[in-house]
């Protein structure tokens, strides 16, 4: 594997300068996508800027108000081992821990999953449903955007040259809130989602759904936030009629391709099925919160 340079900066500013100075420089977090692409030659003539030595980019930090800042170099296993994050956003933590194998999850990060911009990334629909934001560092300073604004097409992001994601941020879990992520794969482990569904709900004391966010993976060029499906649930008590409207909205929003892992028809149907199942899990979590 040819690489021009390996850099291990210790501050965000230094990392940003290295990335800005070299158009071929790539931020390295877990490397489970980047190193594969470098080795296969899909990315050529590159250098890497390792984010794992940058202060504050490894680990989960509590934010004022009960939220969380997940450093871009934090592996999936690190999310699972964080008790408060796992209790607040189990759907996000479970999604990150469906990726690859234990070996992969000990390295792979959700910031990398987001920036690799695969339509089938497992953590992305869960993060979108949870209302996560990405803190992006660039020459002009920092900006915070909804995670769904980062991937723009398969393998493409909205990051400007020299920019990198430093943190993924989540708010505190709302009172009566619950989230879930489910995916369909032909095997039981070590596979890429044929459909992925992230759901986050808020259920009021009387059982009425007061907020909902539903995001789909692997049924479009990027993960999709389906506003119509969310709207079908808000104001309802998640009765059969509301769930049927939600399912119809999900099926209408899905625009998958057919490939070796599933046909477009199968993916579209499964998007509806999995969304209903994920809503049931999120609802149960919301009601016990």
């Amino acid at each position: 594997m040819a690489l021009f340079a390996y850099h291990a900066p210790t501050t965000r500013e230094e990392a940003q300068r290295l990335l800005a100075a070299d158009p071929a420089a790539r931020p390295l977090a877990g490397g489970t996508d980047l190193i594969v692409q470098l080795r296969s030659g899909r990315i050529g003539n590159a250098s890497v800027v390792d984010l794992k030595h940058v202060a504050g980019l490894t680990g989960v930090r509590a934010l004022p108000g009960g939220g969380f800042a997940i450093g871009a170099a934090t592996p999936s296993t690190g999310l699972k081992n964080h008790t408060a994050l796992s209790a607040a956003w189990p759907g996000v933590v479970e999604a990150a821990n469906l990726i690859g194998s234990v070996q992969v999850r000990n390295r792979a990060t959700i910031a990398g999953n987001l920036c690799n911009a695969s339509p089938a990334a497992d953590s992305v629909p869960a993060l979108i449903a949870a209302g996560a934001t990405a803190l992006i560092v660039g020459a002009g300073g920092e900006r915070e955007v909804p995670v769904e604004a980062v991937p723009t097409a398969p393998g493409k992001t909205s990051l400007a040259p020299g920019e990198f994601v430093a943190e993924i941020r989540l708010l505190a879990r709302p009172v009566g809130g619950g989230d879930a992520y489910l995916r369909a794969i032909p095997r039981t482990e070590m596979d890429i989602a044929v459909v992925g569904v992230g759901v986050a709900l808020v259920i009021g004391a009387d059982g009425t759904c007061t907020a909902a966010r539903i995001a789909l993976g692997a049924v479009g060029p990027t993960a999709l936030l389906v506003a119509d499906a969310s709207a079908a649930l808000v104001g309802s008590k998640l009765d059969d009629a509301a769930l049927a409207r939600m399912t119809a909205a999900v099926v209408a929003a899905a625009r998958p391709i057919s490939d070796k892992r599933g046909t477009a028809e199968y993916r579209t149907h499964m998007a509806g099925v999995l969304t209903r199942r994920a809503v049931a899990i999120a609802r149960k979590r919301a009601e016990t919160n």
Binding site: Y6, A8, G31, V36, K52, P75, S101, V102, N106, R107
Partner: protein
């Protein structure tokens, strides 16, 4: 391209090597360090033949840059036996015939040992999911799962005072 000087710890001993920026940890283990127990199967993180411990976490060494090893602690298959005394996982693999060609075996043993260090009594389900990132094309996995399970039972016994 300038070579990078890396100081690390491998199987408890300090190790130093020179590497190119694009060398993987697996390249350096098998090359300059002469530790050829870790194998390169797929080179893309799918097969687990190159599994090593990096600061106590199992990883695919084909997906770690050698330069990333600076200051870290690495444990490979070569450090699993204590001298000529095999680890219970190694002994059970032999006793139960949990290998045929043996190419995947170092990765399975490193991964299985890591499992038993954090869970002394894993179920068959736990073992199969933990080892999902290690592929074997010979055995059909059954004997591997049994060997890990029996090694766990033996290690629990050893820990119980008589």
């Amino acid at each position: 391209m300038a070579k990078l000087a890396v100081s690390t710890t491998v199987n408890g001993d300090p190790a130093e090597f020179l590497c190119a920026p694009g060398d993987t940890l697996l390249d350096v283990l098998r090359g300059p360090l002469g530790l050829t127990g870790s194998k390169e199967g797929c080179g893309s993180g799918d097969c687990g033949s190159c599994t090593v411990m990096l600061d106590g976490a199992m990883v695919c060494s084909c997906l770690v840059l050698a330069a990333e090893a600076e200051g870290r602690v690495i444990a490979t298959i070569e450090g699993v036996a204590e001298g000529s005394v095999l680890h219970p996982v190694q002994r059970k693999f032999l006793e139960l015939g949990a290998l045929q060609c043996g190419f995947c075996t170092p990765g399975f043993i490193v991964a299985a040992k890591a499992l038993l260090e954090q869970d002394p009594d894993p179920s068959e389900h736990d073992i199969r999911y933990w080892l999902a990132g290690n592929l074997c094309r010979c055995t059909g996995y059954d004997k591997i799962v049994r060997a890990v399970s029996e090694a766990a039972a033996e290690m629990r016994q050893e820990r119980t005072p008589a």
